[in-house]
């Protein structure tokens, strides 16, 4: 097929005017040539063509032409036909009628086919073939023949209506029968199979058609020689038609028929078949040849079409199988196919990957696959596998969670499903098993669970922190308020305390001869005033730490001052452990004395309260240098601090003493920090405590 012939079909967009004109002209030329050629082979004296190929050309041309060009094509072919008829010397009225009838036949045929079959007809389905045969070759042709026969019998003298109808019907019918499948099937093939052909196929086709032509020629040659006796010879080519039908489908059969027609008609025209019938009438020969052609062409056409249908069906099955295969291969889940006996026949790549291999075993050997029920942890018995249950009991199992041991000894978590396959009668024909590897998902789930747990823990921790912070805040607010209160109360208290203190001093000084009891009471008052002052001082210090007036100071001197201000009770023995070469501290001496005072007072009280008291109180004051720091340790063997109190002792307003407002250690800590140091404690309930004051070491260059 050349491009010009199917050009209109290859371009679905509207072709240019030039292209359309070329297409129509080409068809017209082809039609004209075919018509003229056919008119050359006319049986004389009746003037009947044995075969009228233009009918097939006309119909095919309409079907192959774009819808909007069809009417133009039809018109042009009508004129072409008219001219061709005229040129053979047919009266113009008859020519006009013949051309009209031929055109009408083609138009009716194509309309019927388009209406009942559809746009694309390529004889690949029995339905198309049968429809074409009935609607076009027989029905439309018969109607057209009626008109032309009427015209012939009326206008041409000596022409019988029925004979004319038969001949017209037969020669047009054969023309349609031979040419339409030839053109349409080859065009369809050219459209679907462009490009280089397999040389073997070409060779086979050449051999087939040459042999067919040769054999047919010989058959006719023999037939012309030996008459009716050798009539069977011309049917010997039938196997070639079968061959063509199987290997080359409709286009092969159509080509074979065309070859047959050319040879047969040639013999008939040349009168070489005249003697076989014995009648000598050329019309009888025409009918015989036409019948021969119809008999030879029709069964192989149906055979070829059914072969095509079969091939299409096979192709569809193959496509389906390929689709199924690619679905199986690309599916991310493992799929196993099991036949009706329970034998595992196939596993897809995902399935083989899950199991790290495959064993295509019978149902009795399912034990080759090792798995455990996740719920119970029990080994899955061979007959407990979902596949076995699907085959033996027709059970459908979905997403059974199992743990498997793969063929590389790794373990995986898998969701296992099995579905039985059934035929129409409901018999089990096999099963499909699906494995889904959820090892990763499982791990992720566990991780998420873990994360959730940690998250909960973190939330708890954070909540606790927030609660602490809130409590801290509340405490701080309380303390701020306390600070303000302490400031004013302290000030207001110090004045009366100062007056009392003065008064005592005056009394002690002026009443030196007073009774002992009075002196004793004066002492008591004095002591309590001092204690009150201490409390007020703590309060004020806490409310506002005095600015640090750092200076170099000797730790031993500060300790001495402390012990002087807060002398130890009689029951307490004080030990000092201070190296002579201890470097000086850099701090506010008053602050240090205040801190150490707090610590020693606490120690005294701890030892006194611990005493019922078997052993003596031991207070050790130790000072050591450590890097840039001087450590002053105040160690006692008193009551110690219980673990639950350890955290709170530096908090303001915490106290275990019956007297005291719980500011001493809090103030000490603040003072230590204000001086660039810190305060730490180690303690064991019942054994005593060690408070360590860290202070910066004095450096000369400071």
């Amino acid at each position: 097929m050349n491009n010009e012939n199917n050009g209109a079909l290859l371009f679905p967009t509207r072709p240019s005017l030039q292209r359309s004109l070329l297409w129509i002209a080409f068809i017209a030329l082809l039609y004209f040539a075919a018509a003229r050629f056919s008119l050359l082979f006319v049986f004389q004296p009746e003037g009947i063509a044995a075969v009228w190929p233009p009918t097939g050309i006309f119909l095919s041309a309409i079907l192959l032409t774009r819808r909007d060009l069809r009417r133009w094509l039809t018109g042009v072919l009508f004129i072409t036909d008219f001219i061709a008829e005229m040129l053979t010397g047919t009266p113009w009225v008859v020519s006009l009628i013949y051309a009209l009838v031929l055109t009408g036949d083609a138009v009716l045929s194509s309309w019927l086919l388009l209406r009942f079959v559809g746009e694309s007809i390529n004889f690949k389905r029995i339905r198309e073939l049968a429809a074409w045969l009935l609607l076009s070759v027989i029905l439309s042709n018969a109607l057209a023949s009626l008109i032309s026969a009427s015209a012939s019998s009326q206008l041409l003298p000596g022409t019988s209506f029925w004979n004319s109808w038969k001949w017209w019907m037969a020669s047009d019918g054969i023309g349609n029968l031979l040419v339409t499948p030839l053109i349409l099937s080859w065009v369809a093939w050219g459209r679907t199979r462009p490009g280089v052909q397999n040389p073997k196929r070409v060779l086979e086709a050449a051999a087939l058609f040459l042999l067919l032509a040769l054999l047919n020629y010989l058959a006719f040659d023999q037939l012309s020689e030996y008459g009716l006796f050798s009539l069977f010879l011309i049917y010997l080519t039938f196997p070639f038609f079968v061959w063509a039908a199987f290997h080359f489908e409709v286009r092969g059969v159509a080509l074979a028929s065309a070859i047959l027609a050319v040879i047969a008609v040639n013999f008939a025209i040349n009168g070489r078949l005249a003697n076989i019938l014995g009648t000598g009438s050329s019309l009888d020969v025409v009918i015989t040849v036409q019948l021969y052609l119809a008999i030879m062409a029709l069964p192989p056409l149906f055979l070829a079409t059914s072969v095509s249908e079969r091939k299409q069906a096979e192709e569809a099955v193959r496509q389906n199988e390929m689709l199924l295969r690619s679905v199986l291969e690309t599916m991310p889940v493992g799929v196993w196919l099991i036949d009706r006996t329970g034998k595992i026949t196939q596993g897809n790549p995902a399935g083989r990957k899950i199991w790290a291999g495959a064993k295509y075993v019978d149902i009795s050997d399912y034990g080759a696959y090792k798995g455990w029920w996740v719920e119970t942890g029990e080994l899955i018995q061979p007959d407990e596998w979902a596949a076995a249950r699907a085959i033996t009991r027709g059970e459908t199992s979905l997403d059974e969670e199992i743990e498997i041991e793969c063929f590389d000894d790794t373990h995986k978590h898998v969701l296992n499903s099995a579905v039985p396959l059934r035929d129409i009668q409901g018999g089990i024909t096999g099963a499909i098993v699906v494995n889904q590897d959820i090892t990763g998902r499982k791990q992720v789930q566990e991780k998420i669970a873990q994360l959730n747990a940690t998250l909960e823990q973190r939330v708890e921790e954070r909540t606790a922190q927030l609660k602490d912070a809130q409590e801290q805040l509340v405490r701080q607010e309380r303390l701020a308020l306390l600070g303000q209160l302490a400031g004013s109360v302290g000030h207001e208290l110090r004045n009366p305390l100062g007056v009392i203190s003065n008064a005592i001093y005056f009394l002690k000084m002026s009443q030196q001869d007073a009774a002992e009891i009075i002196k004793e009471y004066l002492n008591i008052i004095e002591k309590e005033v001092r204690l009150s002052d201490k409390i007020v001082t703590d309060l004020l210090d806490f409310a506002r730490i005095k600015p640090v007036e750092g200076e170099p100071a000797s730790a031993s001197e500060l300790i001495r001052q402390t012990l002087e201000r807060f002398p130890a009770p009689k029951s307490v023995q004080v030990t000092l452990d201070i190296p002579a070469d201890l470097p000086q501290v850099y701090a506010d001496p008053q602050h240090v004395v205040q801190i150490l005072g707090n610590l020693t007072l606490n120690a005294y009280q701890a030892m006194v309260s611990a005493a019922g008291m078997s052993n003596e109180g031991q207070l050790t004051l130790q000072a050591v240098a450590q890097d840039d720091l001087i450590l002053i340790k105040v160690n006692d063997n008193g009551a110690g601090i219980s673990p639950e109190n350890m955290k709170k002792i530096f908090e303001p307003l915490f106290t275990t003493k019956p007297k005291g407002i719980g500011l001493g250690l809090a103030v000490s800590m603040k003072l230590a920090e204000a001086n660039g140091g810190r305060l730490e404690v180690q303690s064991e309930a019942g054994k005593g405590s060690t408070f360590t004051l860290y202070l910066p070491k004095y450096k000369a260059e400071l």
């Binding site: 100062g498 007056v499 003065n502 008064a503 005033v529």
Partner: protein, 127 residues
């Protein structure tokens, strides 16, 4: 006038003034008492005073202001502050301007007497 050292005690709290004055009188000092800055200045105009012991926080004027008012008329006056607060900006300023020291209430009388003695020996009756 005799060599006797005269001390002016100023505080808006009368018992404080009285106890302080009684103690100092008992110790042999001549003591004047005032209950406000205004009264203190009045006494200073009328009597010779060696040592001024004044409270810091008082209704009419604070102790440091009182000290400043005495600077020109009594350049030799030795001034001590007494306060319920330990550290205050105004006190620091007073100390920088020439006030001898500040005593925290309740006052350590022995310490104060030692200071007075030292002042007597250094400024009032230098040997």
């Amino acid at each position: 006038m005799s060599d006797q050292t005269t001390i002016l005690v100023v505080d808006d709290n009368p018992p404080m003034v009285k106890t302080m004055a009684d103690i100092l009188e008992l110790k042999g000092y001549e003591v004047h008492a005032a209950y406000s800055g205004k009264e203190a200045l009045e006494i200073l105009r009328r009597y010779k005073v060696h040592i001024l012991l004044t409270d810091v926080v008082m209704p009419d004027m604070d102790g440091v202001t009182l000290y400043r008012r005495t600077r020109n008329s009594h350049p030799k006056l030795i001034t001590f502050l007494m306060t319920a607060y330990a550290a205050d900006e105004i006190i620091q300023r007073g100390l920088a301007e020439g006030i001898k020291t500040v005593l925290t209430k309740p006052i350590d009388i022995d310490l104060f007497l030692m200071l007075v003695l030292a002042v007597e020996q250094t400024y009032i009756h230098p040997q």
